[in-house]
């Protein structure tokens, strides 16, 4: 990922992180954990893929906005630590199911995000 480790970059990522964490908190208050954690991870992975593949195929998202939304917002909206701690509190079968669901569905979400961008880029031609 783009690493502009200036104060400016930190501020841009921090601002995205502010809103991403609030959005995650709101989503999980609507859909209780661990399903809420799965939801933020899947939605966030789809949107991150849309942003990153836009750069590759279309290029309408400016790099600063991609930093704020991709690294800041989506990075904070999704979470690995909560997923790991929640999984450790489950019984073996449920834990395995939770791992397969989070990894499998986020990978499918990235695939669909890329597909969406490729579709848009072909529409635009």
């Amino acid at each position: 990922m783009n690493a502009d480790t200036s104060i400016n970059g930190i501020l841009i990522v921090g601002t995205g992180g502010f809103f991403g964490a609030i959005a995650r908190y709101q989503t999980v208050s609507l859909i209780a954990a661990p399903l809420g954690t799965l939801c933020v991870n899947v939605i966030g992975s789809f949107l991150l893929a849309v942003m990153m593949y836009d750069t590759e195929y279309i290029g309408i998202v400016p790099s600063r906005l991609r930093m704020a939304l991709g690294i800041g917002f989506m990075g904070s909206y999704t979470t690995f630590s909560t997923f790991a701690v929640e999984t450790s509190q489950m019984f073996t079968f449920t834990a395995a199911l939770n791992i397969v669901a989070n990894v499998g569905l986020t990978l499918i979400a990235v695939f669909l995000g890329r597909g969406f961008i490729i579709y848009l880029s072909r529409m635009g031609r």
């Binding site: 502010f18 991403g20 908190y25 992975s45 990153m52 904070s76 630590s81 909560t82």
Partner: protein
């Protein structure tokens, strides 16, 4: 205070995201694997476990949900793993997933053990 809780989650999120940006940027790349994301995920999972299972009682909105929730990331992990498939690198794809899962869950176990010692 719902508004206050939201604000604390947001401030924690800004701190967590900035720290993730800094720490993952400092991490050297090894064997082409995205070790920055791996490193923040291991640290964040270990510390969250330590705090969750200990008698330490930080502000849950600021520290647990805000800072530690935002310091780690699943979307970048999924994106970086998927990219290996596109590059026809099934070994790196599997290695990245297995390393994140096993090391973060090991971190949670270590955090839990440390929590019991405090």
């Amino acid at each position: 205070m719902a508004i206050m809780d939201l604000l604390l989650v947001g401030i924690g999120g800004a701190i967590g995201a900035s720290l993730r940006f800094l720490v993952s940027g400092l991490s050297p790349e090894m064997r082409g694997l995205p070790t920055g994301t791996l490193l923040v995920n291991i640290i964040g999972s270990t510390v969250l476990s330590l705090i969750t299972f200990s008698t330490l009682n930080p502000n849950i909105h600021l520290v647990n949900i805000g800072i530690l929730g935002s310091f780690t990331t699943f979307s970048t992990f999924a994106f970086e793993s998927f990219r290996f498939l596109g590059q026809n690198n099934p070994q790196e794809f599997l290695a990245n997933i297995i390393l994140n899962l096993t090391l973060c869950i090991t971190g949670v176990t270590i955090g839990h053990i440390l929590a019991n010692l405090i």
